[in-house]
């Protein structure tokens, strides 16, 4: 039952990303709902399931069409899933500011890897602009993650097992 729900949710998120993301594009930057989903899966169900979902979604996202670096999507999403898995069931065991700093750091790393691969030239020639692109991509997805907090807070997701 759980697996079926997860499968439908994964397909739903993928379709949501496919159909909605074009309308939310600002200056070639789009929100990454797949990342938000993988992050939630990692803190809800742990690393194993999150890595499988992340790798699959990353691969599908790359198959959907990337100019170059086919495989980067699965690499970054799997890494995020693995690292986010450390937060599985940890909200009660960590200080809140440590917990929140860790997940923000993980998402920053995800966007850093992505931006580094996609904008290497700017990284070499204009580091300030590189940081700007990195932070804007991160912030845009963060806006949607913060909206998600209203419906399903991260601390609640991380406490599910204990409850």
């Amino acid at each position: 039952m759980k697996n079926n729900n997860l499968l439908f949710a994964t397909i739903g998120v993928l379709l949501f990303q496919i159909f909605i993301v074009d309308f939310l594009t600002i200056n070639l930057i789009r929100p990454d709902f797949l990342l938000i989903y993988v992050f939630y899966i990692a803190i809800l169900y742990g690393r194993v399931l999150a890595i499988i979902v992340a790798f699959t979604l990353g691969l599908l996202s790359d198959l959907f069409g990337v100019g170059s670096y086919f495989g980067l999507g699965s690499l970054t999403l799997s890494t995020t899933a693995y690292l986010s898995g450390f937060l599985y069931n940890k909200y009660e065991r960590l200080l809140p500011y440590v917990f929140h700093s860790i997940w923000i750091g993980i998402l920053l790393l995800h966007f850093y890897i992505n931006t580094y691969f996609r904008f290497q030239t700017i990284f070499v020639s204009d580091i300030a602009n590189f940081v700007f692109i990195w932070l804007t991509s991160f912030s845009y997805t963060m806006i949607f993650l913060l909206i998600m907090q209203y419906f399903y807070p991260i601390k609640q997701a991380s406490r599910v097992k204990i409850n």
């Binding site: 070639l28 789009r30 890595i51 069409g65 100019g67 799997s78």
Partner: protein
């Protein structure tokens, strides 16, 4: 054996992560492999099919706006046409006098954008034409205001285009009126950089940038953009020009692919 199995079970998350990263790296390192191209070709056909209703809705919503724009453009062009026809006749007669043959001839295949990928940065678009329409890899893709990319992966009925803003995209360009040539690559948003320009080339802000024709993909003189900044460092042997391109990659709906290109000898 049992302890080995238990160890595997104990560290299955790390093992799985290692496997996922390894597979991703294999894909990344084998980007140019024909097998990967084949898989990507098949998959863009499938995803294009899923995305086609959305593309249709998007096209319909844009249609009204586009019709108004086209009407306006039509009147403008009609006015220009008269003077251009006279210039064309004059140009032809002058070419005849010089015994000058046409440099290239190519036909344009119109194509609609089905999707722009789902990754967080747009670097590719998928078009609704493919092998059955005569599209092959490495064909120039453009809109009336300029070049926007080249065909990268061609499926049966859809084509993945590597956009001009992709990190690995390079284009040989010429700057007019100086005729200086260089290599264009993406910098940020709609700003691009032309490198390998001769130090003594006379380039000014506002100069027009077109394709050089050195490549077998792009015929010469396709519009690319306009120079907005020139960087001439004293210690460097080359000049760098920054240009702005006219097409807005994120809002492109219709494109043209140059098919059946043939370069005749001058």
């Amino acid at each position: 054996m049992r302890s080995f199995y238990l160890t595997l079970l104990k560290y299955k998350d790390h093992l799985l992560f290692f496997l996922a990263v390894s597979l991703s790296l294999v894909f990344l390192l084998r980007n140019e492999s024909p097998d990967i191209y084949l898989i990507r070709g098949k998959s863009i056909d499938f995803f294009s099919f899923i995305n086609s209703p959305l593309a249709w809705v998007k096209n319909m919503t844009q249609l009204q706006k586009e019709t108004e724009l086209l009407r306006e453009k039509n009147i403008q062009l009609r006015l220009q046409l008269e003077s251009m026809l006279a210039a064309y006749e004059e140009n032809n007669s002058l070419k005849d006098l010089l015994d000058y043959s046409r440099e290239s001839s190519y036909e344009l295949l119109p194509a609609k954008v089905i999707n722009m990928g789902i990754s967080s940065n747009i670097s590719s678009i998928t078009l609704n034409v493919g092998q059955k329409d005569g599209v092959t890899i490495n064909q120039a893709v453009l809109v009336p205001s300029g070049v926007i990319g080249k065909t990268l992966i061609v499926g049966e009925s859809s084509t993945l285009v590597q956009c001009i803003n992709d990190i690995n995209y390079r284009l040989s360009v010429r700057i007019y009126p100086s005729s200086a040539t260089g290599i264009l690559r993406h910098l940020i948003n709609d700003i691009y950089e032309i490198r390998e320009l001769q130090k003594n080339a006379q380039i000014n802000v506002g100069d027009k940038v077109v394709t050089s024709g050195y490549s077998k993909i792009y015929p010469e003189n396709l519009p690319v953009g306009k120079v907005i900044e020139i960087l001439d460092e004293r210690g460097s042997f080359q000049k760098v020009a920054r240009i702005k391109i006219s097409p807005k990659i994120s809002s492109i709906l219709n494109t043209f692919i140059i098919v059946g290109i043939s370069f005749d000898e001058k």
